[in-house]
Symmetry: C2
Subunit: 437 residues, 2 copies
């Protein structure tokens, strides 16, 4: 790959936009970043404001099939989950490749250059392993490659149906490996290409008994891999955990050695102040998924308290009711405003960091426009009805996924003028979802 | 204007989408609506799902200049208001025409066919009336005409700076008419074109003493005009009103005879159950502005309680942090989910009605695709990354303003393929806002 040069009208450098930024890259890495210079003839102009690549820290790709389809009648998180299981039950590796390729391409159009796929649909109907027991995960990694983005495949251990240890049944049989040891044995045979890396996930304290957690933590330690876990999205999880174990889910994870700077807890909605202290003092990441948390009626988590306690924040589109990381990031602030009736908990620099930080996904060399970093660029127009007339410094409060015009991943262009260069995203989404109805 | 025919792949008829809908109009009114028929050659195809025109029931056009510019540092509604006053102070009739024309054109692109402009910036610097004392209002009506949409100009009475009756000062001098009688005298000389109608507004219980309200109510009664009022957006307003009058703001309005089916209370965030009962039993409309209410940290109002009590709901983009009525409508449901941790308070039929009902704005002949109604059509693509693969019945939970492709107002096309036919919206927004910086 030859040296490539771009010239951005505005680019987000450090914690603020700079103007007239000449950016060069070689073999997928930035080699120079120079603000305040005119555009040389060979450099491609990037109009608008160019951000680092966005990291979608929490995704379940197949949930996209449910968008707009779960709003008839009343219900809760738990009734929604029944609908989600019904879709899971219809997936095969080939269908999931098609669906995930389209969903990851939708993410690319929204400026996502790396996705953390929290993957638990491992096995065939009834829980029968495929000939290659990692066939589903391989399909997801391949889908990301075809869509042009990087992936952290968070291979998820899922063992029980409740905090009390009820066995899996129905569609959930497809999630289970039987034991953490069997999970580790399977994952250890899983090889991925360089655009992907493996991580571990404990589905939740509902799905993994405390006795099984250390094996998963040890695997992540051995592989220097990210470890993710759903945490306290619903009050019922907290109540069942207190009843069964006399501790909160956060305390249970803490006691199992599962918290720390390589760990990300997802949602973290219903926490005690002691929970917040444990997550902060261990420098555990907290991944907020505000558009899902409002869709599912989860509630509003204590984002400002977590950040103040020392927990880095990141964001994810989770159920894909919406795929728009700009909206996720600003919603962290806007939900906090609804909760506290005060403004200004997190300013644009913090929110842009939350949307672009790749550390929760284990890519320490991505997420900033600096020499040596992976050459990911996301250009957002300042010329749409939404962004016209704004101060570029406030972009995160005004732009949407529809305003992303150009995306470069590892030095390679994948989106141009709002179109994916390889994939007809709408057609593939429509066809992949029709196969599941 | 000749008979026009459209053929919609899907059109929202009553409370659900129908397919293959032939729609004809003559002189700005629908003449026939026929689902389930093939497209005749002369009928223009509307791809996607075509909705009735969207009614933006609460707007302050000039607030658009603040989008993305108020998020540095901490603060509250009240500190934000200082920034808003500073913009107001720089407006002249000519500048406001230019800005409002661009903002109303942004609304048109988002599918808004009628706006309720809550207008209180009446006078020149220091409160000196213009030679035509309705020059500012005339500029707003003209701006809507140029942007191609209808307007209900809610001419606002604004007399005092606090519940205690403190006099206006600084930029707020430009809002004041001195007395309700002087307000009524001014408004009675205001003539508007047929694309516009006049309504009245009591700014709030902060700005209009109870003794002055009956005059405004009487004016609205005499003219069969809508009456709007900001209500209980902030707890401080409630506390001050209780201290000064021993009643809630809702009770104060009720006692002044200001509630009823022609009245719309805007925000209605912090209500007692007695307030909810008064609003419901009087069939007063409640206008929620969720994207503003989260931006300003107002909190979450009791939407489901109000609807259950009998108050019709409508929505508005208010401060224009976001102009997207589809987002406003679904956010009524999504905020209620955050508040209650339950799903399914309002389904798509209710939310589409909230976004399309024109009754709060006094246009009883608009907001549905039925013979005799005003020929307003808003086509939303089902072929974007956001909407591909959804069930059209769930559109309100998936589409954004960016997915609006075509808009017809009173039988005339104003937006085609996502472009305003008369106005370069981004350029005009940029230029009009630059003049105010």
């Amino acid at each position: 790959m030859p040296v490539t040069s771009w010239h951005a009208d505005h680019a987000w450098l450090g914690d603020a936009p700079a103007s007239d930024v000449l950016i060069t890259a070689d073999r997928g890495r930035f080699t120079s970043v120079t603000p305040g210079v005119p555009r040389p003839p060979h450099a491609e102009r990037l109009r608008g404001l160019t951000l680092p690549g966005l990291a979608n820290a929490h995704s379940h790709a197949f949930h996209r099939a449910l968008r707009g389809r779960t709003h008839a009648g009343r219900g809760t998180f738990w009734t929604w989950r029944e609908q989600m299981y019904a879709v899971a039950d219809r997936l095969t590796p080939a269908r999931y490749l098609d669906l995930a390729r389209a969903v990851f391409a939708e993410m690319a159009l929204a400026g996502v250059t790396c996705v953390g796929e929290f993957h638990y649909l491992h096995h065939g109907p009834g829980g029968k392993p495929y000939d290659d027991p990692n066939e589903m995960g391989t399909a997801l990694a391949e889908a990301a490659a075809q869509a042009g983005i990087r992936i952290t495949l968070l291979d998820t251990c899922y063992l029980t149906a409740s905090v009390g240890g009820d066995p899996l049944d129905g569609p959930a049989l497809r999630f289970g490996d039987g034991s953490a040891a069997a999970w580790a044995a399977r994952v250890s045979t899983f090889n991925v290409d360089p655009h992907a890396r493996l991580g571990a996930a404990v589905h939740s304290v509902r799905a993994v008994p405390p006795s099984q957690m250390p094996e998963i933590v040890a695997w992540a330690d051995r592989h220097d891999a990210p470890l993710h876990v759903h945490l306290s999205e619903q009050r019922a999880e907290n109540e069942a955990t207190l009843a069964a174990h006399g501790r909160t889910p956060t305390a249970l994870l803490h006691d199992a050695g599962a918290l720390g700077p390589r760990t990300t807890v997802v949602h973290a909605t219903h926490l005690t102040s002691a929970d917040v202290g444990m997550l902060g003092s261990t420098r555990t990441h907290a991944c907020f998924c505000p558009t899902t948390e409002r869709d599912l009626g989860d509630g509003i988590g204590p984002a400002a308290d977590l950040a103040a306690a020392g927990a880095p924040l990141c964001v994810g589109s989770d159920s894909h009711a919406v795929i728009d990381l700009l909206e996720e990031a600003r919603a962290v602030e806007l939900h906090e405003r609804l909760r506290t009736e005060q403004r200004g908990h997190f300013g644009p620099p913090f929110l842009v960091r939350a949307a672009t930080s790749h550390t929760a996904l284990g890519w320490d060399d991505a997420g900033s426009i600096t020499p040596g970093a992976r050459a990911d660029l996301v250009t957002v127009t300042l010329d749409s009805p939404r962004t016209a007339g704004i101060d570029p410094a406030g972009l995160i409060f005004a732009a949407t996924a529809a305003d992303v015009t150009d995306v470069v991943v590892d030095g390679a262009r994948i989106v141009q003028d709002g179109r994916h260069l390889r994939i007809d995203v709408a057609r593939e989404l429509r066809e992949a979802i029709a196969c599941l109805s």
